[in-house]
């Protein structure tokens, strides 16, 4: 059979747009491996935006800061091996209910360690509301995060999209 082909940080092949009428930028097309390969570790680069909702691509390398949100978020590993550590904060919610998107915390929040999940390519984890989390790359890789546009979201469409 034909091999199933997944991309990676070091091996991706960006697609293309053949225009008949209109402009390539209408499709806001990028490649998440290319975006991650050019980004700082754990910079949350927006690659998909539908009103307030976003898909972010993160280059996973070393340790990330601690994050939290007032709503569920989800992470999918597309390359590498990445641990996600969780803490149950002792002082109640770390993020105000009105604040949407990922919030970066200063240092490690006080609370009880909940444990960790080890994710490899194709694995998805729930980043549940009410928990703080941190990524630790066992080997460098690429993460997708499903969330809402927030204070850590970085938009640089002109740099990443086919034009």
């Amino acid at each position: 059979m034909q091999q199933t082909w997944f991309g990676s940080l070091d091996n991706f092949r960006k697609g293309s747009i053949e225009i008949i009428k209109g402009k390539p930028e209408h499709y806001a097309m990028s490649n998440v491996f290319e975006v991650a390969s050019r980004a700082q570790p754990y910079q949350k680069v927006v690659v998909g935006k539908n009103l307030k909702y976003v898909i972010e691509t993160l280059r996973a390398e070393g340790s990330s800061p601690w994050f939290a949100a007032s709503h569920d978020e989800f992470a999918v590993v597309l390359d590498g091996e990445i641990d996600v550590h969780f803490i149950k904060p002792s002082g109640g919610p770390l993020v105000d209910a009105k604040t949407e998107g990922t919030v970066r915390l200063d240092g490690q929040p006080a609370g009880q360690p909940m444990g960790y999940v080890r994710l490899r390519r194709g694995h998805q984890a729930l980043l549940p509301t009410g928990a703080a989390y941190r990524f630790e790359a066992v080997t460098k890789g690429v993460l997708l995060v499903q969330t809402i546009l927030g204070q850590c979201s970085v938009e640089k469409w002109a740099e990443i999209c086919i034009q």
């Binding site: 091999q3 998909g48 194709g122 999209c161």
Partner: protein, 331 residues
Amino acid sequence: MDKVTGLQNVTATEPDPTTGYRIFHLGDFEFSRDAYFATVKWPANGQTRSHQMHADDFLRAMMRDVAWGFFYGWVNFDEVIGTRNHYGKVDMYAGSYNASYKDAGIDHTQQFDTPLIMATFKAILRDWVNEGFDPFAAPEETGSAFGAKHGDNIAAIERTRIATKRMPGLEGDSPLRDDLPVNRQFADVVQDEPEIHAEPGFEGALHAFSLFKYLSRSDVTWNPSVTSVCQQSLFCPTTEEFVLPVFHGNDRVEWFLQLSDQIIWDVADKDSGEPRARITMNAGDIAAMPADIRHKGYSQKRSMLLVWENATPDLPKRYESGELPPYPIQI
């Protein structure tokens, strides 16, 4: 003579003595099939107009429309016929989104309550899908749709989109797919699950699963099913092989992220059908489908695709009024 066949208000004839298939009526539309073709007829300017599709293409398209509950926006079976979802009511149309038919004034649209059109479409599928043909499968995986009526395949047509509340595998949520076999074209996809190391007292509080394993076991093609829910943001991945059986025109922006292999998308104007672009997406590529286009995908190997939807209810009105531009990003 028309008669009610038991399903709510579905109008159908007795089986044709030669082909074995029933003829169905839905408002002004008539649906019939023979050994090779599905034929749709409608009135326009005092005449009867007609349109034919290959029976297999027609049944694959109708299967998606039924399984998706008429989906978002326009589900074009081909360049002439299709449905538009108004979420409670559904338009059936012929030629209404084809520039030539529209100019000639031979198009026709009629609106139905969702339960009536759904019951009629399901009755058509039950009658027209023969034993050995699975309209949800890729051509290499299933038998022929052609010939006179022989048996049925009710099990194959009763599958629906998976409704997930938060994430599959959570207690009280949609199940994982450990009981389904790995698809032949994903035989090389690693089947390991994430390691979950919960501290005492937090067993069950951490949740992760292998999405690629889950997708490798999908038993249907081109059927977006929800795997994570962030308010109205829905990840709806699916496995794709051969051709998307419909030309989907959305009433909102959606995004595609190619998770494996490659899909080529034909993109055309939503209203006229005029071609606009052809987009080749490889693993890792992400692109928006603007709100003013229709699209149809081609996947020569079974591939994994993340379809990303915003399910906010008032979006169609906001795009239609021009409040929201059809393109999500201004560069």
